[in-house]
Symmetry: C2
Subunit: 431 residues, 2 copies
C-alpha cells in the first residue's frame, strides 16, 4: 500500500510543530468522529470506510521524498520533520463496527494517543469516512427500495477513478450485489458484471450482427442491450439470435415502467419466459421504488449512487473531546469543548454509546454518554476496539460487514425504510 | 505512475472479446466526449482533468497480476487476455485545451483508433473528466464571486482522499490560489497553507497559551483562529500576543458578515490595521458573493468546493460517432448515432468546434459541425491535438491551464458571472 501520510492538511503539521515546541504535543488526547446531524431528511446513517481507515492508519508513514518536499517547501521546521520521519501511530482506536448504522452525535470513531499522534490523522480519517459513509447510506436506501432484486453498481464513470473503487466497496456494504468496476473487483473481490454499450451495436452494420457477435462470444446467457434503435424490433431480434435461453435484456432509456411491461409481455409471448429484464438510466432510490410493481429483475445504478443520491458527503468532524493537562501518562483526562457562535458547540469527554432496544428487540434510542455505562445498557454498547497500541485488531471480510449492515437496518423501526424526508428514525439521548 | 487499466467497466472487456472474435475490433472508430446539457442553471462548463486523462492513457497497461485476476474471475477468454497483455493506445486524441469553457454539445475530447483500442478507455476518461470538470466549474463560479480576494481550497476531509487531490488541482485551474492539502502540494506543486484548528486551542490550558505557542513556533505572520470561545476576547488576546504585525485571524462560525465587520473594527482600533481576516465555515459561491462588501481578505472553502456546489458530476458521455465498415485502414468512416427513446439521441460524425466571436471579440456562439470548417471560423477552432499515434504531445504547467481558464471566462458575455440560475451563456449552433 502506498503511504497515506500526505492526505493531511497543512495545518495539522504546523499545529504539531507548535505543540512539539511548547511541550503540549505529548498530552494524552481523545479525538472523536461524529456528525451533528444527518443529511437533510435522512433517517439513519451507515458507517462505511472503517476498514480503509485502518489501512490508512497503518500506512501513515512519511517516506524520504515526502519529507524532502516538506523541507523544501518549508511547511514545518527541521525538528518537526525529524519527528515525522519516525511517525507511526502507537495509540488505540475504538469505533462502531463497519456497516453499523449511526445517528446525530454517535461517537462512531474514537482515536486516543498523544495529541501529536492523533492530530495528524484527522484529514485522512474524515476523507474516508465522509466519502464512504455517504455512498453506503445512499446504497442502503436503494437496497431497501429494491427489496430482493439485485442492484448493480455502475457509477465508476461518474466520479473520480479511485473514489469509484471505494464507492463500489461502500455500495456493496449498503446492499448492492455486483459492480461493473473491475478495479473494485480486483481490489476488494466484489463480483463484477457487465452488459453491452450502444457503441457495440453501432460498431456493427446492423443490430442483428451485434447481437450475433455478443452471443457467439459470451453465450446466450449474456445480457443484450435493446434500446439502440427500436426496442420491440430489438427484443424480437435478440430472442431470434440467442433463443429463448437469452439471459437478459437491458433497457437504458424511455419510460422504464411502460417499456419493462411491454418487453416482459413480448419476451413471454416469444417463449423467453426466463429472460430477465435489467433496467438502467439515472436510477435513484425513488425511481427504483416506483418500479417495484414492474417486471424488472435487476437495477443498474450509476450516477446517483456515486454522488450519494443528493448527499455526497456526511459532515462528520474529528474533534478533541478530552486531554491531559500535562505529558505525564498518569495525568487525568479533562473534557474539552468549543463554545462559540453558530451552534457548533459539541459535548466534551470520552464517550460511550449504546442502542437501547424496546421489548420486541427493536432499536428505540441511541444513548450517548460519558463516564460509567448504565448496567442495563452494558450489553448494547456499540464501540469495539479496532486498534490497540498501534496494532490493527480487526480485519473483516466485506461480506461480514455487508451482513452486519443488513442486520442493523433490519433492527431499526420500520419507518427507517421510508424514502420520504423525515427525522432520524430513533432519537439520540445524552445520558 | 500505477496502472490505470482496471479503471474500466467489465463490459468494455466483454465487448472487446466479442469484437475480437467477429473481426469488428479493428474497425477504425471515433469516440467523442460531450454533455447533452449543463448542470441545471449553470451558464458554462469548465474542461478540467485533461492532463490527468493523458497520464491515464499513457499508464493504461495491464500488468501480470491484473491479467491473472481477469483470467481467474473469467471476465474474458484467453485470447482477449493475450490481446490485453500487449495493449497500449496507438491512436490520436484531440480535445479542448484544459481550462477552456464548454457548452452543451461541445465535443470536448475526441479519441480515434480501432474500436478495440478506444472502447477500453471509456470509463477512466469519463471518471476523470466528469469529476474534475465538476469541481473546476464550481471553483470558477466561486472565483468570480471572490473577485480579487484569494480562495483557499480546504475540502480534503469532505471527499475521498485521492479525489481530494484531483479536486485541489481542478480548484486551482478554476481560480483558487492555495490548498490545505499536502498531497496536492506534493503531486502538483500547488502552494499550500494552513491556519489552526479548535483542537489546538483546546489542547492548551487557555487560549492565550495556545496563541503564544503558535506565534512562538510560526511567527507573528501566522493566522490565529479566534472563535473557539469568545471572538472579541480572542482578537484582543491575539493582538496582545502577536503584536500589531499579526498576519491574520480566522473566523469559522457565526454570522460572518457581522463578525467580520466587528473584528475589522477591533483590529483597527488596536492598531493591527494590516492583519487580514480569513473566513471559513461552509462557504459556497453565494456566501462568498454575500461577503463582497465585508472586510474579508481571503475565503477558505471546503465542502461545497469538493462536492461541486450541488453538482458533483457533469453527465459527460463517451459515444461512438463514426466508424469504418471494415478493418481496412483505408475504409471510409461512416457517422453513427443511437436513435431511441427518451431524448438520448446524439449527433453522428466526427466533429469540429469553434467559438464565434462578436465584433468586440466576445464569445457569441459555440459552433459545432461535421465536415469542412467554414473559413470564417477557421481561426476560432477549439480542438487541439493532444496525442498523436499514441504519443502524448501536450504537457502543460498548471499555471498555464489556470491562466487559460481565466482568459476563456473573461471572454464570455458578462452574464457568465451571474450566479443566478439561467441558460448557457452562449448558444450551441450546429453547422
Amino acid at each position: 500500500m502506498p503511504s497515506t501520510a500526505l492526505f493531511t492538511d497543512h495545518y495539522e503539521l504546523t499545529m504539531l510543530q507548535a505543540a512539539l515546541k511548547n511541550g503540549t504535543a505529548d498530552r494524552h488526547s481523545v479525538f472523536e468522529v461524529f456528525t451533528r446531524r444527518l443529511p437533510e431528511g435522512r433517517r439513519y446513517g451507515v458507517v462505511a470506510g472503517t476498514g480503509r481507515v485502518l489501512d490508512a492508519v497503518e500506512n501513515f508513514r512519511f517516506d524520504p521524498e515526502m519529507l524532502e518536499y516538506l523541507r523544501a517547501r518549508r511547511v514545518v521546521d527541521g525538528a518537526t520533520i525529524d519527528w515525522l520521519a519516525d511517525y507511526r501511530f502507537s495509540g488505540d482506536i475504538w469505533g462502531y463496527p463497519e456497516g453499523e448504522v449511526y445517528f446525530p452525535g454517535s461517537p462512531l470513531l474514537r482515536v486516543e494517543s498523544t495529541f501529536a499522534e492523533c492530530v495528524l490523522l484527522e484529514t485522512v480519517i474524515l476523507s474516508i469516512l465522509n466519502h464512504d459513509s455517504a455512498i453506503a447510506a445512499a446504497a442502503s436506501r436503494m437496497a431497501s427500495a429494491a427489496g430482493d432484486r439485485p442492484l448493480i453498481e455502475m457509477g465508476a464513470r461518474r466520479t473520480h477513478e479511485l473514489a469509484a473503487v471505494a464507492a463500489s466497496r461502500a455500495a456493496y456494504i449498503g446492499g448492492f450485489t455486483l459492480t461493473s468496476d473491475l478495479a473494485a473487483g480486483f481490489r476488494y473481490d466484489i463480483p463484477t458484471t457487465g452488459t453491452s454499450a450502444h457503441a457495440f451495436t453501432l460498431l456493427h452494420d446492423d443490430e442483428r450482427s451485434a447481437f450475433e457477435a455478443q452471443v457467439a462470444a459470451l453465450g446466450s446467457g449474456t445480457t443484450l442491450l435493446v434500446d439502440t434503435y427500436d426496442v420491440t424490433q430489438a427484443v424480437r431480434t435478440a430472442v431470434e439470435v440467442a433463443g429463448t435461453g437469452l439471459g437478459a435484456v437491458r433497457i437504458d432509456s424511455g419510460d422504464l415502467l411502460l417499456v419493462a411491461h411491454r418487453v416482459r409481455q413480448q419476451l413471454d409471448e416469444m417463449g423467453a419466459t426466463k429472460t430477465r429484464i435489467v433496467v438502467t438510466s439515472d436510477l435513484d432510490e425513488y425511481a427504483i421504488a416506483s418500479l417495484a410493481a414492474a417486471p424488472v429483475d435487476a437495477y443498474g445504478v450509476g450516477t446517483q449512487l456515486v454522488v450519494g443520491s443528493g448527499h455526497p458527503t456526511c459532515s462528520m468532524v474529528y474533534k478533541l473531546v478530552a486531554r491531559a493537562k500535562s505529558g505525564d501518562p498518569a495525568a487525568p483526562l479533562e473534557p474539552v469543548a468549543k463554545k462559540a457562535l453558530g451552534g457548533k458547540t459539541s459535548m466534551g469527554g470520552r464517550k460511550w454509546a449504546a442502542r437501547r432496544l424496546d421489548a420486541d428487540g427493536v432499536a428505540e434510542a441511541e444513548v450517548v454518554g460519558t463516564g460509567e455505562v448504565p448496567a442495563e445498557l452494558a450489553e448494547q454498547q456499540l464501540l469495539v476496539q479496532l486498534v490497540k497500541a498501534g496494532e490493527v485488531l480487526v480485519r473483516e471480510p466485506l461480506d461480514e460487514v455487508r451482513d452486519r449492515h443488513a442486520a442493523a437496518r433490519a433492527n431499526l423501526p420500520l419507518s427507517a425504510a421510508q424514502l420520504s424526508r423525515g427525522e432520524a428514525v430513533i432519537p439520540t439521548e445524552y445520558a
